[in-house]
Subunit: 345 residues, 2 copies
DNA sequence: TTGCCTTTGGAAATCGTTATCGACAACGAT
DNA sequence: ATCGTTGTCGATAACGATTTCCAAAGGCAA
């Protein structure tokens, strides 16, 4: 697997041992050269540097991490690489540029559901050895206790014990429903999210607040449980749309649910936005490509990643943070799944 | 930084030492419990398992990697997390689900340009220790030699020495320009890419092939160097659009260049697609959100990632691969930046 | 030539984990 | 009563790199 060809070009992994042997010095000398330590003769330095370049050697991240406390690597821990976490990842990459840190994104890939507390185990796997600090995306449990430098980007849970960066779910739901009210809608249904997640609770609360603020009252029959699940959301949408007096607009707790609602509308032959307007939440990429393109609430995912990283870097540097719970505003993206209410003749 | 609270809940990193101490056994015993090795009394097993769960211990990826040859981790090495590599990453995540592998994406974050051969150094850092195999996205050099399990997803270079998965640039450029010809265009300009990249050469070749196949001849004045760079692409587009007899359609070597072209058209007061049609290449997310939405050639990025991963897993398993150079077809995404040529009155 | 200091390179310990192997107790069999 | 066997468990040596400490070599002055 590992060898050296005629030009000294290696194929395969190169260790410090090999560099030392090739250069005719000890490993410690090679280490000193790499880390620019005092105590190496200029010509030895030159010679060893040459060998290192020729072999294309670079210190193993693993071995170095194990020995040193600092690794200059920041970790992003995700349950899976879906749209939300990927966008956050890009934001982290943005923020890391020029800081001298490297970036490692880690995912156990689907084996998550086995243990609810995946975040704690992930942290145990990488913190202190592979990475200096970590950004956890979308944790499932709220009671994570960890006193290393860790920041959560957390769309779902409430104020956890960890430093957190999240979008304002309450405000987002408000502007979504306000938008529908402005368009003249009065019977506004909602496909709700997973009741155990704070994000879903807040989005429902925002919905209720907006209705009340408009001087209307909430009709509990117009709330159907979608649970952030495509199948269940379809059922919920179907229930709402087949009501004797169906709503003229539906606010879905996330885009997945909203897209399911669009699907059901097509099935039932109901025109969107002609007969019913639909608003989503999240602004995942697919929402722009839907038919019709989905009006939705945009979460500033990249910015969440950037802010979380800035906070994390500060934490690693040992700085004191005044506010460890940042909330960012959402914005409404108006596309073509919402329209003014046609006044019935 | 690390401690144990009243409930035995640790805050901070947990090592095997701590588990051993807490359980009153040796580290070797803990190791045996974790790896389900023979030679542990049932009640000891039970007891240690309890302590492990209570402390939320999980073995350090780094230390384990260092000791073992196999890590069950696959690495994705990227220069940066931009749209292309992120989509490929999602594909890798797709393919990895259910294989038992974990996924680590690694980026040195912008410090790349310092050394052109970043891929070789990345490999040296992680291969053999942190990961069992790697997918390299967008390598810059063609002569990477490495005999471990490594697959390149490579939109830019030609047939390299590494196993490679790439989109068919020639075919993609053909269908883009064929589309313009079908719409009636005859004077078709091109904003070309970086001449040193094989992808750019192939896209230009596809352009020339399409023109010739239609029985037309290539007007060299209608080719302008965009170099895959936003600024330079703007200049190129400006040059083409301010020609005395400007082209009625422009094929840009990538979406970045196409978006720059749209920009310039707006500046010059030229209507797209009324006065000039524009086609891009890549189908990056931004292209769908442009004004007008960009007609472009879609690279199946996720599929590239999936295929690369499938090949990598086979390589790690030691299987023989017949064809180590896979080429995937591209498809045309028709949006609203292209239209039929208005016949001049 | 001797003694001392400076320069330079090497040996050893360490990080957290795993595999190997040896220690030791309990027990049954002779 | 002694021996061998089985079952448990712990001590130890790696993995690759870094760092601390120490020894060897060379230079210089006396």
């Amino acid at each position: 697997m590992t060898g050296v060809d005629g030009n000294g070009q290696t194929t395969g992994r190169v260790t410090m041992q090999q560099v030392a042997a090739e250069a005719g010095v000890s490993v410690s000398t090679v280490s000193k050269v790499i880390n620019a330590r005092y105590g190496v003769a200029p010509e030895t330095f030159e010679h060893v540097t040459g060998v290192i370049n020729r072999l294309g050697y670079e210190a193993s991240l693993v071995a170095r991490s194990l020995r040193n406390t600092r690794t200059n690597v920041i970790g992003v821990l995700v349950a899976d690489f879906e749209p939300f976490s990927t966008e956050v990842l890009k934001g982290v990459a943005d923020a890391i540029r020029g800081t001298g840190y490297e970036l490692v994104a880690y995912s156990a890939g689907g084996r998550v559901d086995e243990h609810v507390g995946w975040e704690r185990r992930y942290l145990s796997r990488v913190m202190g050895t592979l990475v200096d600090g970590a950004v956890i995306v979308t944790p499932t449990v709220t009671d994570v206790q960890y006193d290393g430098p860790v920041v959560a980007v957390d769309p779902h849970t409430g104020r956890s014990s960890l430093p957190t960066v999240a979008a304002d779910n309450l405000q987002g739901a408000r502007i979504a429903v306000d938008h529908l009210i402005e368009l003249g809608h009065r019977r506004i249904g909602m496909v709700t999210g997973r009741p155990d997640l704070v994000s879903a609770q807040l989005r429902e609360q925002g919905y209720r607040d907006a209705i009340h603020a408009a001087g209307l009252r909430v009709d509990e029959d117009l709330l159907a449980l979608g649970a952030f699940d495509p199948e269940q959301a379809r059922e919920a949408a179907r229930a709402l749309l087949t009501l004797p007096d169906p709503p003229t607009a539906i606010f879905a707790a996330n885009d997945i649910s909203a897209l399911a609602t669009l699907d059901v509308a097509v099935e039932l032959g109901i025109d969107v936005p002609g007969a019913v307007s639909v608003v989503g939440f999240d602004n995942i990429p697919e929402s722009a490509l839907a038919h019709p393109p989905l009006t939705t609430v945009h979460q500033p995912m990249r910015q969440l990643g950037r802010d979380a990283t800035a906070m994390l870097v500060a934490l690693i540097a040992g700085e004191e943070i005044d506010d460890t719970h940042i909330t960012l505003d959402t914005t409404l993206v108006r596309r073509r799944s919402t329209a003014s209410l046609e006044v019935p003749s």
